[in-house]
Subunit: 104 residues, 2 copies
């Protein structure tokens, strides 16, 4: 097991929080940008930056619906993003329990 | 809940692995530097750097016993380090399960 196993894209605390929040939604559900921001407590600029990185990796889908004051930006985890979070969580849980110490 | 809750000293993957490995030892047990290095797969220089940071924070105790070829460096988690890892793990487990989505 190497130290590189934890997906660095997800390991950054702010992005981990974004991904975990989206992963907790029922399949197919989305969150509005504003609601996600409220839940996570990031500034809009910060959240946009992190979402863009996750979107570039194909982990998150961001969709703008409507225009002007009636517009709403919805955010959801993609299938790839959900799979990445699942393996990240499993790797982390393994790591937290620690390896079996050798007998010496 | 803010994004700053995860102890940044422990969150770095290499240090997380060091701390988790030491936390898995029975209370009072130590690991030799060499054995720890084998288990974690870091270069000696890298491991020394990370151990120094953890030692400076009071999370890890490093003790050199003997001298010359017979010397052995033993590494263990301090009480403070164990407490820090426990709260880090709890924060992380909470985070992995995600918040309850609001009704809106």
């Amino acid at each position: 097991m190497t130290v590189d196993e934890l997906d660095p894209l997800i390991h950054v605390p702010a992005r981990l929080r974004v991904v975990a929040t989206l992963a907790a939604l029922p399949d197919g559900d989305t969150l509005s940008f504003t609601r996600l921001q409220d839940m996570i407590g990031l500034t809009p600029g910060n959240l946009i930056t992190h979402l863009r990185k996750l979107e570039d990796a194909g982990y998150v889908g961001v969709e703008k619906i409507g225009s002007g004051v009636a517009s709403r930006t919805s955010v959801a985890l993609t299938i790839l993003g959900r799979a990445a979070f699942t393996s990240y969580s499993a790797a982390l849980r393994d790591l937290l329990t620690g390896p079996t110490p050798p007998n010496d």
